[in-house]
């Protein structure tokens, strides 16, 4: 039963070894593929995944099956389709895909093959974060293994379906995680996001219909096919379906990553799995899903990890990996640290992001250096509105504004103390 409750990590062993093809097959690996490709039509696979209620694990939470079903399959100009795996995990504080990539690469491959079959793509790309050397090695190896066993290549499992998977290691930059910037990078262009519409589903890689899925999302797929929709829908505790990797970093006793049902209360993650705060530190707040989500407070501990529940509490589930703010860390400096990252990683395409983020950094630095003015807080608030959703070309700047706007809301006195000069000595991040 342990296995069934933790489908994503069932092959991941504590000894840090990784699952070989034999390991993977021994726990039912590639059975989902076998079922999909021999018993189901592509449209059926789409429907299964839709019915299972799988939502994208990259942060946006869009229905995976619905996304697949929107791929144009009819007109002649849409004959070539691509599947692209977003394995460019660069969100600060997020390390969930890495575990799946390094420790159970076949799980991802099986997910890719099923997804490609569902949208009838014959080429799939894995766009892998450049620094994930170990993942690259293990994926390369897994690709060879899968090919030699007939799971990949021509006429997969005698079904007549062909698929080639190409591993592409990124040259770097956070913006490549934005799916259209990823496509540009994959094409060898500057990694600037593209205008939407047209969405990649219509005009994606090289102008062809393209589905882009996150690593963790695809890792769910084999199990849905193997164990069925009913089973999958029985895993979660709340409104959303399945399990998810949740993590915690910061001054908790036991930072780490755990596969838990969707809908697990945040309190349980922090207090049970992460073991609570380290001695001498108190919980002051946390970012629920990576650097580009709004701060939440201890009062939100009983909110559950569901897309809509977190949104209702004023933040986003994002990647589901919590970044913990303790009482001895200055939130202003923490925000500065994040904003420096975002300012650095702006692609430079649109004005608010390109020029607004560096100004944000300048203001925060001035404030911390004791040269801030009260009206600077208004300027910062103005920037959080200016760089908000819809005002910029992509989601980078609005994401960057989330920790800042919530810090201004929840920790305003920390900002003001720097300006008024009554600042208690605080440890820097």
């Amino acid at each position: 039963m342990e296995q069934m409750a933790k489908p994503l990590t069932k092959n991941i062993r504590p000894d840090r070894a990784f699952a070989t093809l034999a390991d993977y097959e021994s726990t039912g690996g590639y059975e989902g593929l076998r079922k999909a490709i021999t018993q189901l039509q592509p449209k059926d696979v789409q429907q299964w995944v839709k019915d299972a209620g799988l939502r994208g694990r990259g942060g946006a939470g869009f229905s995976t099956g619905l996304k697949w079903s929107l791929v144009p399959m009819d007109a002649e100009s849409f004959q070539t389709r691509y599947l692209v795996v977003n394995a460019d995990e660069m969100e600060p504080g997020t390390f969930k895909d890495r575990l799946l990539l390094e420790r159970d690469p076949h799980q991802l491959l099986e997910g890719i093959i099923i997804a490609a079959y569902a949208i009838q793509a014959h080429v799939a790309y894995i766009f892998l974060r450049g620094e994930y050397h170990l993942a690259a090695l293990r994926l390369e190896n897994a690709l060879l293994e899968a090919g030699s066993k007939g799971y990949l290549g021509k006429n997969i499992l005698d079904s007549g379906f062909n698929l080639e998977i190409i591993l592409h290691t990124s040259a770097g930059r956070y913006i490549c995680g934005e799916e259209t910037a990823l496509l540009n990078a994959l094409e060898g262009k500057r990694a600037n996001p593209r205008a939407k519409p047209p969405f990649p589903l219509v005009s994606g890689l090289w102008g062809k219909p393209t589905v882009i899925n996150n690593v963790e999302t695809l890792c769910n797929v084999p199990h849905i096919l193997h164990y069925g929709i009913e089973w999958y829908r029985s895993l979660a505790l709340g409104a959303d379906q399945g399990t998810k990797l949740f993590g915690a970093s910061g001054r908790v006793k036991n930072p780490g990553l755990w596969e838990l049902p969707m809908g697990t209360p945040i309190r349980e993650i922090i207090e049970e799995y992460a073991g609570g705060m380290r001695d001498g530190y108190k919980l002051r707040g946390f970012l629920p899903g990576g650097a580009s989500t709004d701060f939440m407070l201890p009062e939100h501990l009983d909110v559950v990890m569901d897309f809509d529940a977190i949104a209702k509490a004023g933040s986003r589930m994002g990647t589901g990996t919590l970044i913990i703010l303790d009482d001895l860390t200055c939130p202003v400096q923490m925000v500065l640290n994040l904003e420096e990252f975002f300012a650095q990683e702006s692609c430079g395409w649109c004005t608010p992001c390109r020029d607004g983020l560096p100004w944000t950094v300048t203001l925060l630095k001035d404030i911390i250096a004791g040269q801030g003015r009260m009206e600077d807080l208004d300027a910062l608030s103005g920037l959080t509105r200016m760089l908000g959703p819809g005002n910029t070309f992509c989601a980078l700047a609005p994401g960057a504004m989330e920790p800042l706007q919530s810090a201004l809301k929840y920790f305003r006195e920390d900002f003001e103390r720097y300006i008024t000069g009554n600042n208690a000595v605080m440890e820097s991040v």
Partner: protein, 913 residues
């Protein structure tokens, strides 16, 4: 059409247009940077924010970027809403964070789109207290200054340079607020269209280096509508003058012809007007300085004394000047002054255009072509602006596909994204690789005969009545079939050919292809060498060779040469003999050249910027240019020297001359309608050439005399040399300066267009003289294939944008970019000679050149040394064997201009072996 509501007012707009373009087309003010009417939307600058409401009840709305929002029926938006205004002002504040406060010393000041937009948004107070980021600037060559600190990162430069114009060496580097627009290292920008950066850049990053060298504010320039004289396309330009010097040339919008863009020869070729090589005073050989009156008297005396006077016209002089000359010397004594082959080609082309029954497209129509065949031209060099239009035509398939994918046509990056799967067919047959090959569906390289044969084969595939070339190779035949298939599918196919190959067969093959095309809309366009080549050919006249014969036969004893260097038109010895035989040779020209040097009498002619006249471009469009400033005395318009010599002096004014020309030549009858005449006024005022802010008029000459001189009177045109007058009701096609309140930059053009990127209100300038009519028989003279012979090569002279055109050669900035004077050859040919790139070879003329017949005995002695030229060889792997290519028109090649068959020897450098 869609009805939408903007700030409570109801408007009719183009359905599917983007909201920004629709607002501007309505004449509303909405600031923007990255959007450009010719390049569509980018969504980068976020400046055109407006509020869009869900429905009639919605009072909050949401902020959208107008440039990225399609217009839909019954949509409700607000430009004036406080939230949108605040966003636009805040956005400018962000753009200004790193923008230097150097407006007073910036060349863009006074015509800066960034200034205009900043004022428009009301951003006045700067809150940012940090340091500005700075960049290093690059030396981008003789045309363009680079001042990167001013950059607001709108991305227009790279979108124009790379995506629109196909250049590769201007890129964006770096990220975040450190993006850098430049080259990978210092060096001259390679694109032939780099000058447009000056106008595409919304601020002062890219400015005109030639203008900086003698800078003046926009409002201190005197300007008149003008036409580019550097090729046959007739792009509309606005030259600016201060202190009697031509300071710069900028684009003048014409919705049918050049739109927003010029080529670099057109923009920077103007330097010849200020050249020290100008003929500034009359010169009578063997006499001390003479006055204009004396020169005029001498000129009249020559005419009176002459038994008969030959008049040699010019394809770079106006219709009126040529017509005045023709009238002065009489039709029987009027010769066109063209190279003999070119004369034949132009006559043939004129016949095809007038009687061939095929439409000759404007550049706007060229951009709409959905399949193109170029026969024998490297358009970038022979008619540069046409190449830019053809580059856009290649995108039409992507636009069509975008339609099926519901991608709006202004969504620029998305259309470019699908371009790889849908590109309109473009086939190029040429002597060697061309600058458009990168977007070609297929290319073919061969000798002129082979190009013609391919053309004939394509025509035959399209229509079996068209004759078939005999013995065509399989490869050529299947290429011809593929090209024919591509053209057949098109709705608006276009054939491009011209005079570059100097081959009649190529032109005839092009006609056959156009005639063979199915459907109603075949189009055929020809490039020609000069600004009035077609006008001169329509006027018609005898060959230069006949003038030589007439002089030789002693049927005439004097000659008037109008704006023409005969050494560029005929073999040197022939011209020598002609000029030697003439008792009197009078040259009317603006620049000293070999012909003028030999003339007994030089009469200083006004350059294009100092005179008026009508030119006919390659499309058959008559357009008028006007003097920007009065011709510096004693120079005067060529037509004035000539009409002054007419006995009964019947044409006192240019308008009279134009009218007489129109009456004499029915084909030119419409030229009187090209522009209003000198009697045109608005509320009793002429159109001012000087902007209303023209400053210092009372003081600018005070170092000479504090008494302000009276403004010169202009009796020839509707313009005044003044700042007074009514600008408001001037038809946009006649506006010297584009300006609207709040819009000091060239972007103000949207206030004068029917819609953004469309035609000018009240019509674009110019009148088409030729519409398709008649039909010609199939051309049947198909040449044999070109066969290389052992140790014999044929020299082909191909045009180059920088070097082949006579006037721009005298422009200092163009001179820095001149084509190298080397010889291009096939690598196998080079191999058999043992020549590597960069080594010297000797070209040895073989017999049979036309000059032999004209040689007298003295010159035969020089034959030996005059038939060898030592030259640096370069390798071009696309050039067929047996052919050599040099740049046409370079002065250093003048003496080998009429060599055709040559042999080559490698020069062994002494001391190296």
């Amino acid at each position: 059409m869609a009805r939408i509501e903007i700030d409570g007012e109801s408007y009719e707009v183009e359905d599917g247009d983007n909201l920004l373009s629709a607002c501007l087309s309505l004449g509303l003010d909405l600031p923007y940077f990255c959007w450009h009417p010719a390049m569509g939307s980018a969504g980068a600058c976020r400046q055109c924010a407006v509020i869009q409401y869900k429905d009639a009840e919605d009072s909050r709305g949401r902020l959208v970027m107008a440039c990225m929002t399609p217009v839909t029926g019954s949509m409700r938006v607000s430009i004036a809403a406080e939230q949108a205004r605040e966003f636009r002002s805040d956005n400018i504040e962000l753009l200004m964070i790193n923008h230097p406060h150097d407006c007073p010393v910036c060349e863009e000041g006074g015509e800066c789109h960034l200034q205009d937009m900043t004022v428009m948004t009301g951003h006045t107070f700067r809150r940012y207290r940090g340091r500005k980021r700075t960049h290093n600037n690059q030396n981008l060559g003789p045309f363009i200054n680079h001042e990167m600190n001013r950059c607001i990162a709108c991305y227009r430069c790279v979108r124009f340079y790379g995506e629109y114009a196909g250049g590769h060496d201007l890129q964006v580097f770096g990220v975040h607020n450190n993006v850098y627009f430049g080259r990978f290292e210092d060096g001259a920008l390679e694109s032939e269209f780099s000058g447009n950066l000056v106008e595409v850049c919304p601020t002062g990053v890219f400015t005109d280096k030639t203008f900086s060298a003698h800078y003046s504010r926009k409002w201190d320039l005197q300007t008149a509508p003008s036409i580019c004289v550097h090729c046959s396309l007739g792009c509309n330009i606005a030259p600016g003058e201060r202190y009697g010097e031509l300071r710069r040339v900028i684009n003048r919008y014409n919705g049918d012809v050049n739109g927003y863009f010029l080529c670099d020869r057109g923009r920077f070729g103007y330097g010849f007007v200020n050249s020290p090589e100008r003929i500034r005073k009359p010169l009578l050989k063997g006499h001390p300085e003479i006055t204009a009156a004396m020169a005029e008297k001498h000129f009249h005396d020559v005419l009176k004394a002459a038994k008969a006077t030959i008049g040699i016209g010019s394809p770079r002089a106006s219709l009126e000047a040529n017509f005045a000359l023709r009238t002065l010397v009489g039709e029987e004594n009027f010769f066109l002054g063209l190279d003999d082959t070119e004369h034949t080609l132009l006559e043939t082309i004129t016949g095809m255009m007038r009687n061939g029954g095929i439409h000759s497209p404007s550049l706007r129509e060229v951009e709409q072509a959905d399949a193109v065949l170029i026969l024998g031209e490297d358009v970038t060099h022979s008619a540069p602006r046409l190449a830019l239009s053809l580059r856009q035509a290649a995108r039409n398939a992507a636009f069509a596909l975008a339609g099926t994918m519901h991608i709006p046509l202004w969504q620029d990056a998305s259309i470019r994204q699908i371009q790889s799967q849908a590109r309109s067919p473009l086939f190029i047959a040429s002597i060697c690789a061309t600058r458009l090959d990168d977007i070609a569906t297929d290319t073919y390289q061969g000798g002129p005969e082979d190009i013609a044969r391919l053309g004939f084969a394509i025509a035959h595939h399209l229509n079996h009545e068209s004759p078939e070339p005999a013995g065509l190779g399989n490869a050529e035949n299947s290429l011809a079939a593929a090209v024919a298939a591509g053209l057949k599918l098109a709705k608006r196919p276009l054939i491009v050919s011209g005079t570059s190959c100097s081959s009649l067969a190529v032109i005839q093959a092009a006609y056959n292809v156009a005639k063979a095309l199915p459907g109603q809309n075949p189009q055929l366009t020809f490039t020609m060498p000069e600004c009035n080549s077609l006008g001169l050919a329509i006027m018609g006249g005898k060959r230069l060779q006949q003038a030589f014969e007439r002089m030789n036969e002693n049927l005439a004893d004097s000659v008037i040469i109008l704006e023409n260097d005969l050494y560029r038109r005929a073999p040197g010895p022939n011209v020598d003999l002609f000029l030697k035989t003439a008792a009197h040779a009078v040259v009317i020209d603006s620049l000293i050249n070999a012909t003028a040097e030999k003339a007994g009498l030089q009469l200083p002619a006004a350059a294009f910027a100092e005179s008026e006249g009508t030119l006919v471009n390659n499309e058959g469009r008559a357009q008028r240019f006007f003097p920007v400033y009065p011709a510096p005395e004693p120079a005067r318009g060529s037509w004035q020297w000539l009409t002054g010599a007419l006995e009964n002096f019947q044409w006192r004014h240019h308008d009279d001359l134009t009218a007489a020309c129109a009456i004499t030549f029915p084909a030119l009858a419409a030229i009187t309608g090209v522009s209003p005449g000198a009697d045109y006024t608005i509320k009793g005022c002429k159109i001012p050439r000087q902007p209303h802010r023209y400053s210092g008029r009372t003081a600018m000459h005070s170092d000479i005399n504090v008494r302000e001189p009276g403004q010169p009177h202009d009796a020839e045109t509707p313009f005044s040399f003044s700042m007074e007058g009514a600008m408001a009701q001037v038809p946009p096609g006649l506006l010297p300066v584009i300006w609207a309140p709040g819009w000091d930059s060239n972007q103000s053009i949207n206030k004068f267009q029917e819609e953004t990127g469309g035609h000018l209100r009240d019509g674009d300038a110019g009148v088409r003289l030729i519409e398709k009519s008649g039909s010609l028989e199939w051309f049947r003279d198909i040449p044999a294939a070109f066969k290389p012979q052992q140790e014999v090569w044929r020299i082909i002279r191909l045009p180059h944008i920088f070097g082949s055109e006579e006037l721009s050669l005298h422009s200092p900035s163009i001179a820095e970019r001149l084509s190298s004077s080397c010889l291009f050859m096939n690598p196998l040919d080079a191999g058999t000679l043992g020549v590597s790139a960069g080594e010297q070879v000797a070209i040895i003329n073989l017999a049979g050149s036309p000059e032999d017949s004209a040689r007298d005995e003295d010159e035969l002695i020089d034959l030996e040394e005059n038939s060898v030229l030592e030259i640096v060889a370069q390798i071009d792997k696309t050039l067929p064997r047996g052919l050599l290519v040099i740049t046409a028109g370079l002065p250093e090649f003048q003496f080998i201009n009429y060599w055709t068959q040559v042999t080559l020897k490698k020069i062994h450098q002494e001391g190296l072996s």
